[in-house]
């Protein structure tokens, strides 16, 4: 198993992102600093509230995602698990802040139900695997799976950040709430980007499994479990208009710039974002 394990993983990162510093300066509860009163002066429209709910639900499924990562060799990498520990803590409190926004938004009461039948797409079938299949399959992939996890995590952050930026553009009140969230997520991106570049740059096997994963992922991650109508809403609202399409193009360019990611794979990611 050596060829799949540590002998071929990238050497430890001595410079770059300081995981311990990240842990030390984690952002917890936002409730004390949220300006919900200005949200009363500039109430959110129904579509924006629906996007807030979608993002809240995504942040809430973090433990599910952590499970899918930990049932593979990713759990062995203590630096990555140290990051995940703080990452899930920060996401817990981002979801809580979005909850507060929903509570303060009258339009939240009239939203369509978020539950509904899921979208069944053949290309996304890998994503529907439970922990047993994931764990068994990942045993054959070995420790290079960490590259897949940090890269899909990175692309996911780029996509959700596009959604957060759209929300921040709705009003000054929303910008004051969302800007700090974007700032927090910027650190997540920095870690994931550094790890992805290092690991992809180091191993051909890492590039191969990551290309495959990017081709088959449902975006944002975890979408396979979401209702078809909620996924369609997200794609239309975030990437449907001209500026949204430009965002999707930008994401394609960033994906294509990652070491060893094929242009066709980056295009597939872009096309999956568009309604």
């Amino acid at each position: 198993m050596n060829s799949k394990n540590d002998t071929t993983t990238a050497p430890p990162d001595s410079a770059g992102f300081d995981v311990r510093e990240f842990a030390r300066t984690a952002h917890g509860n936002h409730r004390g600093t949220l300006d919900l009163d200005s949200l009363a002066d500039e109430p959110l429209d129904a579509e924006s509230v629906r996007l807030v709910r979608a993002l809240r639900d995504m942040e809430r499924t973090t433990l599910h995602r952590v499970r899918d990562l930990l049932v593979t060799a990713t759990h062995k990498d203590a630096r990555v698990t140290a990051f995940l520990t703080t990452w899930m803590f920060e996401k817990f409190w981002i979801a809580d802040a979005l909850d507060a926004v929903l509570d303060a938004s009258p339009a939240a009461r009239d939203l369509p139900a978020s539950a509904g039948p899921a979208r069944r797409v053949w290309a996304e079938r890998r994503e529907r695997r439970g922990p047993v299949l994931r764990s068994l399959a990942a045993n054959f992939t070995g420790t290079q799976i960490v590259a897949e996890h940090v890269t899909t995590g990175l692309v996911d952050e780029w996509i959700t950040q596009a959604a957060y930026r759209r929300l921040a553009g709705v009003s000054c009140a929303m910008a004051s709430i969302i800007d700090p969230v974007v700032e927090i997520k910027h650190r997540h991106i920095r870690f994931l980007a550094a790890e992805a570049e290092r690991r992809l740059g180091y191993s051909a096997r890492a590039r191969r499994i990551t290309n495959r994963a990017l081709r088959h992922s449902a975006w944002p991650l975890g979408s396979v479990d979401r209702a078809e109508h909620e996924r369609t809403f997200f794609e239309r609202h975030v990437f449907g208009d001209q500026s949204g399409r430009a965002e999707a193009r930008r994401i394609r360019a960033m994906v294509a710039a990652l070491p060893g990611i094929r242009p066709g794979v980056a295009s597939t990611v872009e096309s999956r974002l568009l309604p």
Partner: protein, 264 residues
């Protein structure tokens, strides 16, 4: 008594030590056997994420209160690891993430198939498997609390003792969560009681056994719990476990001590 999850999450914080004068460790270093025990505790705290993984393969995290607890608990345990690593560092012992990774890699196939076994068991047993994890977690947290208190009592170091007390105080909250969860879930299901009892009786071992070398397990258990005073604490842990529904008469911690020949 119900566990107040909102209060717990709001107050959850990494253990603090900036106000403690760690230079004291250079003036008055800790003895070798204490450092060895601290190293063990430090590793175990960092490895909490492996235990989190097992919990996440059960349906328990779909319940918001349990998910919230796991998020905070995992982070608090990580910070215990950081605090102890900072103490060790003052003694020239560096605990880095790559070394922890090497320990986890050494576990090999046993660990790789662990997830599958856990999940399949969880599927077979169903929702009651959550109760097994909670009872197991309670036993571990009672042990951890006792270990930190005991080390604080054995040592008189002016910086180590308050740090250990702070860690123990957080562990006490973890005990409260696991024990209240275990009590409710065990009380509600006969099947859960039967399986949890079987699991504890047949498979439970001191926290860290299975991950750490057996020689280290024996060192820590001897250092902390050998002798009549230590044995009394072990029996107290067993008494707590035995009070959980369906666990009457269990003495798994004392059995684990006897198996390792720890003198009473």
């Amino acid at each position: 008594m119900a566990f107040d999850i909102d209060k717990y999450t709001k107050n959850s914080t990494g253990v603090q030590w900036a106000d403690l004068d760690f230079d004291e460790f250079e003036r008055d270093p800790l003895p070798e056997e204490t450092l060895r025990t601290l190293r063990y505790m430090c590793d175990i705290e960092y490895h909490t994420v492996c235990y989190l993984r097992d919990l996440l393969t059960t349906p328990s995290h779909d319940e918001p209160a349990v998910g919230a607890f796991m998020t905070m608990w995992n982070r608090e345990e990580f910070w215990h690891g950081e605090a102890l690593a900072a103490v060790l560092e003052r003694h020239g012992l560096r605990v880095d993430f790559d070394e922890l990774k090497a320990t986890r890699l050494k576990l090999g196939w046993r660990d790789r198939l662990g997830t599958v076994k856990q999940t399949v068991m969880g599927r077979l047993v169903g929702h009651d498997f959550v109760a097994v994890h909670m009872a197991w977690g309670a036993a571990n947290e009672w042990s951890a609390t006792a270990a930190y208190h005991r080390l604080a009592a054995l040592e008189s170091h002016p910086v180590l003792v308050p740090l250990l007390r702070r860690i123990a105080q957080q562990e006490t909250k973890h005990v409260a969560f696991y024990a209240s969860q275990a009590r409710d879930r065990l009380a509600a299901s006969k099947k859960a009681r039967v399986i949890a009892r079987l699991a504890l009786e047949k498979a439970w071992g001191p926290v860290g056994s299975g991950i750490m070398p057996e020689a280290e397990v024996t060192h820590v258990m001897t250092h902390l719990f050998a002798g009549s005073e230590g044995r009394k604490l072990i029996r107290d842990i067993d008494a707590h476990i035995a009070k959980l529904p369906g666990m009457e008469g269990l003495h798994i911690v004392e059995d684990a001590m006897d198996e390792r020949g720890i003198a009473s």
